[in-house]
């Protein structure tokens, strides 16, 4: 599903963010990416949704080398790869319903499709009754749910989450993780970058640890945040 082969990423300013990374994430798997700040977690995710192109190596997503994708094909990759960030990225002047619908508008969906899919998305994240609210009327956890609904509404096969609980308290974080695990159960591959020791230790999922741009540990299942 996601296969990084000998991937290196050097930014134009010379920073080496990833060095010779090999990583295979199977379809339907849930994987944490951990590591200190600056270890290359966001860069790794960015390569998968083609926010950037690797300096060397190939990034296979869904059987396709994303590194070689011509720019005009990138939007179609993004429809298969949902992304969620720490800062939610909601449009403040649009309601919850409109924020989720926005992802459908933008890919040229019909009105009927929108009216069918938005409620399903809101239902999935448990916000069916908040459609008319504006982002500033929601809690942080609810905002992150809206952003997850937006990432999922186009039916991607992969969901990338870059520190989605970074702004949330532990209880709310745990609720969001439950939601992401649920989504994974429904055959969506989930890759999540996190610093959250407690979450990692409570979930027993695959854990990939980065340090200075290299994979230093890859615990297939039940990985603990700190190496034993």
């Amino acid at each position: 599903m996601i296969h990084l082969q000998s991937v290196s990423m050097i930014y134009p300013d010379g920073t080496e963010a990833l060095r010779d990374v090999d990583l295979l994430i199977e379809r339907g798997q849930f994987a944490f990416i951990t590591g200190h700040s600056g270890s290359g977690k966001s860069t790794l995710l960015g390569l998968i949704y083609r926010d950037m192109v690797p300096t060397a190596g190939s990034v296979i997503v869904d059987g396709q080398d994303v590194a070689k994708l011509p720019p005009r094909r990138v939007p179609f990759l993004r429809r298969k790869v949902g992304v969620v960030f720490q800062d939610f990225g909601l449009l403040p002047q649009k309601t919850v319903w409109e924020n989720v619908g926005f992802a459908l508008d933008v890919v040229g969906a019909s009105r009927r499709e929108k009216h069918r899919k938005v409620p399903i998305g809101l239902e999935l994240v448990g916000l069916a009754d908040k459609g008319d609210a504006f982002p500033h009327q929601l809690s942080a956890g609810e905002c992150q749910r809206v952003s997850i609904a937006r990432a999922l509404v186009n039916g991607p096969s992969i969901l990338l989450a870059d520190e989605p609980t970074g702004n949330l308290d532990p209880d709310t974080s745990w609720e969001i993780i439950q939601l992401l695990l649920n989504i994974c159960q429904q055959d969506t591959t989930v890759v999540m970058a996190t610093h959250d020791r407690e979450i990692v230790d409570r979930t027993n999922c695959r854990l990939v640890q980065l340090a200075q741009g290299r994979i230093v540990r890859d615990a297939k299942e039940g990985g603990k945040y700190d190496a034993p």
């Binding site: 939007p75 993004r78 990225g89 449009l91 926005f102 508008d105 933008v106 040229g108 019909s110 009105r111």
Partner: protein
């Protein structure tokens, strides 16, 4: 394209124009000023050319005959394929026309004035002449030179300065019009592309989200192009709404007070002109926003 998509794009474009109220206002007024100058220049140039061509059309070569020359023979000798027609004017007629032309009407009719003049001078000062009308006013100097060599011709005259000056002036105005026009067009494009860049900056979060959820570049562009077109449309309409009444007023004033100047005036031409101004605004609006977007969308 789906109805929902069209609605979405129009709404986003309109929204952007409205939300950036002040910037939009600045863009519209800049476009209006640029098109106003451009439009005024075009009208001025068109009129000068119009007058020059009227003058040129009226331009003739006057061939004065020597005393006792055979008018028919000289006429025969002057004919060639570049001559449109030759009008013989006898001495009395010539005198009458001269009097009219110089505004020397001493009596109530020019015939009476001519008789008085002959009486006063004891003879008719004007010789019989031939008026050559050329096919093309540009041939006048050449035809005049040829006429000078014809037997029985005393003198050849034509309004060298007036015709030449008007033709030169028309050319000069056309050239400077094109230059100023290009400058104004570039300025307008820059204004609109800057406006769009400001809008892009104001909406960069939205654009980022659009890109992340898989919007194609053209889809991201359309609302901005709509915004630019709206700015251009409004600017063009304002320019037309200012230029047309002023021009009508000038035309009316000139028509009443300076009757020797004949300005172009037809409702049809002016409507066409207004439409052209608005279309210019629309084209500049679209082109300017594409310029503004070009750099940005390549970066991300």
């Amino acid at each position: 394209m789906r109805l929902n998509t069209i609605e979405f794009l129009l709404h986003e474009g309109w929204d952007a124009a409205v939300r950036n109220g002040l910037v939009t206002l600045a863009a519209i007024s800049n476009v209006a000023v640029a098109l106003l100058i451009l439009g005024g220049l075009v009208l001025f140039g068109m009129n000068v050319e119009h007058m020059a061509s009227l003058q040129a059309e009226a331009a003739v070569i006057v061939v004065e005959l020597a005393e006792g020359a055979d008018a028919a023979a000289v006429e025969e000798a002057l004919w060639n394929e570049r001559v449109k027609n030759i009008e013989p004017i006898n001495a009395e007629e010539n005198l009458q026309r001269t009097i009219e032309g110089m505004g020397l009407g001493l009596m109530e009719s020019s015939e009476a004035s001519a008789e008085l003049m002959i009486e006063l001078l004891g003879a008719n000062p004007c010789p019989a002449s031939l008026q050559i009308k050329p096919m093309d006013p540009q041939d006048i100097p050449e035809l005049a030179r040829q006429a000078e060599g014809v037997e029985g011709v005393a003198m050849v005259r034509y309004a060298r300065q007036v015709t030449d000056k008007l033709l030169t002036m028309a050319r000069g105005i056309r050239i400077s019009g094109v230059v100023v026009g290009i400058v104004m067009a570039v300025a307008t494009l820059l204004v609109i592309s800057t406006t769009i860049r400001l809008t892009i900056h104001a909406r960069r979060d939205e654009i980022r989200i659009m890109q992340l959820v898989g919007a194609t570049n053209w889809f991201i562009r359309v609302p901005f192009v709509i915004e630019g077109v709206l700015d251009g449309l409004a600017g063009g309409a304002i320019a037309a709404a200012i230029v047309l009444p002023i021009y009508s007023y000038i035309e009316q004033y000139v028509g009443q007070n300076l009757q020797f100047i004949d300005l172009i005036y037809s409702a049809q031409a002016l409507v066409l002109f207004a439409v052209a101004l608005v279309l210019c605004g629309v084209v500049f609006g679209a082109a300017g926003s594409l310029m503004g977007l070009h750099r940005y969308l390549r970066q991300v």
